[in-house]
């Protein structure tokens, strides 16, 4: 790992050394109110018999923090020789913090990773391949299907262990559907049927037929996945599809629905963006359908309150296409290449994956567990929403499309600097024709991708 400390880091090392020489020699023994020892001090202390330290970092909300910390305490009971030091934050903060730590060569042993970022981190050599730990049995995947692990594999090596399986899902308010006198759609419904159902719901009930970001990049990706293609080419240097017609048709439909008031306009979406799952129009009864990631159904149901009935249906697909759904790892645990204690890290990840008691604490909060033994053990303890999620994942498992390759290294750049500002927003705000929109996406995305891949 030392050879990574090249260039930039060395420059700072020298500067910092010069600096520390003239820094106040005996820094005051500041007494931060809680235990203010540095991490090294904690490890050296070893008052509770721990001989090694394991650092874990994740993002989440209160519920996840509580459960994860409880599971960590269980792990420490089982492995008294390991002291687990943890740090948690919200989503944005997690990445700011991890990025900074990476630059300082100070990453934790285990970090929670995201599918959209995995390639970015692997390509910079910041994550450690886990195959050796799988081979020696530290990571035991006997009860795990290959498809559940596939998302963490890049260039043939495993870089992240899936912490829960997710898939996108259309949530229909069953009572509204009945009120409108309409039938639930088939699992393999098309966009045309989707548009028709949303239109009828809107016309019969006077509320939004559907709510949720249909211009989201996720749906662009799903569209081409369903057609057996992928939005990026193999080396991430350009778009991976030739035919713009499906996108043209799809965006045309979304615009049509917006203009007819069947779904919220982009303007309304923007005004409400950043709102949480809890703020969805379906919660307040102002919309009859929405889409979420399957694990978000728990939050949606909780916010909606008692006595609501939600129906789960797979995402619609283009005419003649395969499923637009795939099973996505909700998040991963990865071992960083700066880890000081990778062996304990692997044990910890295995514990998270396979330990029944731990998973009874975690209660599938990160998505449907990948181990079938864990799933079976949790079944009797699930609440209604979780039961629905487990059933949904089980039902679609056999018919979903294979997981697409991880996003190109230039993905974040494409989405933030091309997809939204130059493509989708100008189109949905009526500043740009559909044809121009699709053309600009191709031109600009290719330019950005070529540059990112060339670096």
């Amino acid at each position: 790992m030392r050879n990574r400390m090249s260039g930039f880091a060395v420059l700072f090392l020298v500067m910092a050394l010069v600096l520390s020489a003239c820094a106040p020699a005996a820094a005051p023994a500041a007494a931060p109110v809680a235990e203010g020892e540095s991490t090294e001090a904690v490890a050296a202390e070893g008052g509770d018999g721990a001989t090694s330290e394991l650092r874990v970092a994740w993002w989440g909300s209160q519920n996840r923090h509580d459960r994860t910390i409880a599971a960590i305490e269980l792990f420490e009971q089982l492995h008294p020789e390991i002291k687990v030091v943890y740090e948690f934050s919200g989503w944005d903060d997690h990445w700011t913090k991890m990025t900074t730590q990476a630059a300082g060569g100070n990453l934790p042993d285990v970090m929670q990773q995201d599918y959209a970022r995995l390639e970015e981190w692997v390509s910079r050599g910041l994550l450690m391949p886990l195959d050796a730990y799988v081979a020696d049995g530290t990571l035991n995947f006997d009860n795990v299907s290959e498809s559940a692990l596939a998302g963490g594999i890049i260039d043939g090596q495993l870089y992240g262990v899936n912490l829960g399986t997710n898939s996108m899902v259309i949530v229909i308010d069953a009572d509204k559907l009945a009120e409108a006198g309409l039938e639930a759609p088939r699992p393999d419904w098309t966009f045309a049927e989707f548009e028709a159902l949303a239109t009828q719901l809107h016309e019969n009930l006077g509320i939004y037929g559907f709510t949720g970001g249909l211009s989201n990049e996720q749906l662009w990706k799903n569209l081409y996945l369903s057609l057996g293609e992928w939005v990026y080419n193999e080396d991430g240097s350009a778009l991976g599809y030739e035919d713009d017609q499906p996108l043209l048709d799809y965006l045309g439909m979304v615009k049509r629905m917006q203009d007819a008031g069947i779904i919220p306009t982009r303007e309304t979406e923007v005004a409400e963006q950043g709102s949480s799952v809890e703020d969805n129009d379906i919660v307040s009864g102002d919309a009859a359908m929405t889409y979420v990631w399957s694990n978000q159904l728990v939050a949606l149901s909780a916010a909606a309150g008692e006595g609501r009935n939600f129906l789960l249906v797979p995402m619609p697909r283009p005419e003649g296409g395969a499923s637009t759904n795939y099973l996505k790892p909700s998040m991963f645990f990865s071992i960083t290449s700066q880890a000081k204690n990778p062996d304990a890290a692997a044990m910890f990840i295995d514990f998270f994956t396979n330990d029944i008691e731990a998973n009874k604490i975690l209660m599938a909060e990160r998505g449907v567990p990948i181990s079938s033994a864990v799933r079976d053990a949790l079944q009797p303890e699930l609440d209604v929403a979780q039961q629905q999620i487990f059933n949904y994942i089980a039902e679609i498992e056999s018919s979903v499309s294979p997981i697409p390759p991880p996003d190109a290294a230039g993905h974040a750049n494409v989405i933030n600097n091309v997809y939204w500002p130059l493509v989708m927003d100008p189109f949905f705000y009526g500043q740009q024709s559909l044809e121009d929109t699709v053309r600009i996406l191709r031109e600009q995305a290719n330019a950005v991708l070529a540059e990112s891949a060339g670096q």
Partner: protein
Amino acid sequence: MSNALPAPAAPASATAKAPTRPRKRGGARRTDNLMGYLFIAPWLVAFLAFTLIPIVASFVLAFTNYDVLNPSWSWVGLQNFERMFTRDPRYIKSLQATFFYAFTAIPLRLAFALAVAMLLNTHRRGVSTYRAAYYAPSIVGGSVAVAVMWREIFGADGLINAILGTDITWLGNPNTAIWTLIVLAVWQFGSPMLIFLAGLKQIPREFYEAAAIDGAHGGQQFWHITLPLLTPIIFFNLVMQLISGFMVFTQAFIITGGAPLDTTLFYALYLYQRAFVSLQMGYASAMAWVLLAIVAVMTALVFRSSSYWVFYGSQEEN
């Protein structure tokens, strides 16, 4: 003639009341390097130890393609700067949004702060309650709760539409979104207001008493005593609001994220996105230095102008 007041503006009797000890010209100009450096030593040490290196580093990185995660980088010369002005439409939009914000929010905020400070600079009953009420919005800061709150107030069926009887998606409409952030900035006007208040409190009571005896009241006192004596504080608030106005980040970060159509994509927000989302720290560093240049020029202009309108009790040149 007194040195404490701008002579042409002050009523004669007020000037007469002000201290009139003659000034020793030589004393004021004397330099005292040892004491000077001794007094600024705390700042100088902290600056050299903790701030200088990051500043130099960011300058160096402006000419590289450093991406934070990858420790190896290469020199790209002026390419970052060239891209900014020729191949980055979002950059231009971020400049537009920032200048628009700076030139509307700053004057509004300062005017409002000064007006309220004047209103609250009195011994009327209940004024401390008012002072607390007006300052309160400024302490809610930039938490997630504020984002939800602001979106709610400007929402389709929120307070603002209810009051105005309109049906505008304030945060979604490219013509109105930036105004919600300007209103937020004006609403949180507590810090300049408090500084104005402290400045008003520092104006010696004798000046007003003298002016009152002289028959000057209300508006005259304001123009001839309050305003001139407050100019150092107005100057300070102007400079600081100018700088922080160009650095505006948090509100857009938590509420709009730059949307709609990049009309609220403030410079610092775009810079943050480039640095930590697209991982282009080299480019972000280049952007930071251009911003520094812009703000430095604007600040220098204000400083230049200050000799025409800022009056110091100590009458030194700045």
